[in-house]
């Protein structure tokens, strides 16, 4: 059972309020601010009044408290069991966590209990000492906001050197790969598969006035015909993207997706996978790419009736 109040926003917020009450710095204004910053949108209607009215008798009238210590909570068994389960995950080799305190704890689940049946088979080599070193150097660069000098191999096999400002490490569960999101020397956003990096070295701090260009975005609109449960399949499949869906009529919908332009080729095959359940109507160049694929398919011989 993990839907419990001890993990809740209210307990967490009240703990912050009481910490200030214990050291005598709590004011009305601070109480309201803590609720606004930490709790939900409408919590300001409940938490301050419950504390001040004595419904929750944790504060006295002058905003002091009978508690003697700033509130804290030990880790629950559930939290420890989750941490223990992580120790069985091959990706934990990238981190160097503290193993103490988990000796007598059962893992919350075992890797063999969960099958990622459609994950790609060429995931990153988490057990490689070189990969681990590169990962940790990239992580250190991110934490310390430092530039990186990297040598990587292109898909064609050529070695390249580059200097970049790392922004984030991006992980794809489908690809089981990390990518370094960075800003290159020409102030353009770029992504480099971590598995293609052969060496990397920390450089100076990223200049404070460095730009943070975003990856260019694209928009795609299609008609969705709800046959063979396509409505649920399509909308769930694209649910991780920003999208807008409008019902046009019985079993007919219009969906607009927003995605990173660099993923256009991937987007094309994802759209094709739904066959005639999806009809792209915009932008025209995307429609033309689909037509091109279909023309090429028609041109190939013996398709598909030979057996």
């Amino acid at each position: 059972m993990l839907f419990l109040e001890v993990y809740g926003t209210y307990y967490h917020t009240v703990a912050s309020i009481l910490a200030h009450a214990v050291d005598g710095t709590l004011t009305d204004r601070l109480l309201t601010r803590l609720v606004q910053e930490q709790a939900f949108g409408e919590s300001v209607l409940t938490i301050p009044s419950a504390l001040k009215s004595g419904e929750w008798p944790l504060l006295d009238r002058d905003l002091g408290t009978p508690l003697r210590h700033a509130p804290s909570m030990p880790l629950t068994l559930l939290e420890k069991r989750w941490l223990k389960a992580l120790l069985l995950d091959p990706r934990i080799a990238l981190f160097q966590p503290d193993l103490s305190g988990l000796e007598d704890v059962e893992p919350l689940y075992l890797p063999r209990d969960i099958v990622f049946f459609d994950r790609y088979a060429d995931g990153d080599p988490y057990d490689s000492p070189l990969y681990q070193k590169i990962f940790r150097t990239a992580l250190q660069a991110l934490r310390e906001k430092r530039m990186l000098q990297i040598r990587f191999v292109t898909p064609a096999g050529a070695a390249r050197d580059a200097t970049c400002s790392p922004r984030r490490l991006e992980y794809s569960e489908k690809d089981d790969k990390f990518r370094l999101l960075a800003v290159g020397s020409k102030n353009t956003a770029c992504t480099i598969n971590l598995g293609r990096i052969r060496s990397c070295r920390l450089l100076d701090p990223v200049p404070e006035d460095a730009l943070s260009p975003e990856l260019p975005r694209s928009e795609l609109t299609f008609l969705l015909y709800d046959q063979r449960k396509a409505l649920e399949r399509v909308l769930l499949h694209f649910s991780h993207l920003e999208k807008k869906t409008v019902r046009l009529g019985e079993n007919r919908y219009q969906v607009t997706l927003f995605y990173d332009s660099a993923d256009r080729a991937e987007m094309l095959i994802r759209i094709l996978s739904f066959g005639p359940m999806i009809q792209v109507i915009s932008p025209p160049d995307f429609v033309e790419s689909i037509r091109d694929r279909l023309r090429r398919q028609s041109a190939l011989s013996g398709m598909p009736r030979d057996s």
Binding site: K80, D118, P304
Partner: protein, 418 residues
Amino acid sequence: MAYQELIKNFDKIRRYIRDFYVYGFRSRMEYDTKSPRSYDNERRRIESWLGDYMSFHQDAAGKRMFLSLDSRHIPHNPLYRAFQARSFTDRDITFHFFILDILADGKPRTFAQILETLQDTQTEGSRNLFLDDSTLRKKLKEYVSLGLLAAQKQGHTVSYRRTDSDSPDLTRWEDAISFFSEASPLGVVGSFLLNRLPEAPDLFRFKHHYILHTLDSDILAQLLDAIREHREVTLTLESPKTHALSHSPLVPLRVYSSTQTGRQYVLGYPEKRLNPIFVRVDAISSLTAGDPVPDWEELNRRGREAEQHLWGVTIRPGRPLERVEMKVHVEPWEDFIVRRLEREKRHGRVTRLDANTWLFQAEVEDAKEMLPWLRTFLGRIESLSCSNAYVQNTFQADLDQLNRMYGLTGEEDPNALP
């Protein structure tokens, strides 16, 4: 009953969040609820928890709420907020802070000592709360089962202490928690841990990130517990159309999680235990754990056999395997197509036939499940054959329809693009 921001039961709100997030085109009147007030309350709660991500569009039929975000561009899954909205009583929150405060020095104390300290430190408002010592007993027992307290028995006396000293140093887990809270099963537990850190690190982003799984975390945790303990469970399933509830026993063996469709399933044996089945986790409203199953290992062995030729999540016992062969045209500069075949083939085989042709072959339980993947090679397929004629015919019919749809045949299609 007056509106409250917090809730006791997660199942109802789970359906609303899912609907706003996946569909987002329904108006207030289209929600199948006992009263429009119920819809208003759930919508108001979700806005209160996830307001930054809520939007709406308005048309003649009314306002249509939706939750929209690109999970690639945010550090943490906002749906975790819903798991932090459990309601509680005045007594719960008061005992919580007082008990942990009394034991904060790390020294063990007996029930009587805790009760006495509580009564000494009480404020005027708390006096009535501490009169009933059975509530304190229950709360101490609950906190021992949660692992917040440890109970030590000496003779007839039980003393309680906090368990801080038995825990790892979270500051040395910061980066790992930040990553795994998004990239591991039951990541919501990681979000609870992140809340304990002074500042959550913002180092990672997640692509192809299906955050909706989160809503099923409580069910998933119970299923994984049952798998670990080899227990049978009784599932309460809700029909998506009629919302009628049914109860089904199942011996769960494994969870199947898709990284491409956003769905999760549990594989297990139903009541008669003849053949294994898959059940969608998001269709399970609740479950009750039963007794351990003595023949679990035998069922697991049979399950493993049945899983040998799965492409997706369909098992068709007693039917012959279906054979699929696809010849793919690859130009010399298109190595990435060969890499795609190799990494996406699952238990299929890939061989080179000549300079430009690669053969994919597989024997699967249900070739229909392969149709979406096969279509991703459109424009490169030299030939496709399947021992199930339905699959081959459907592939061709869909292709013909696509050609009409995009105006590539002489035939008129009402939906053809200009």
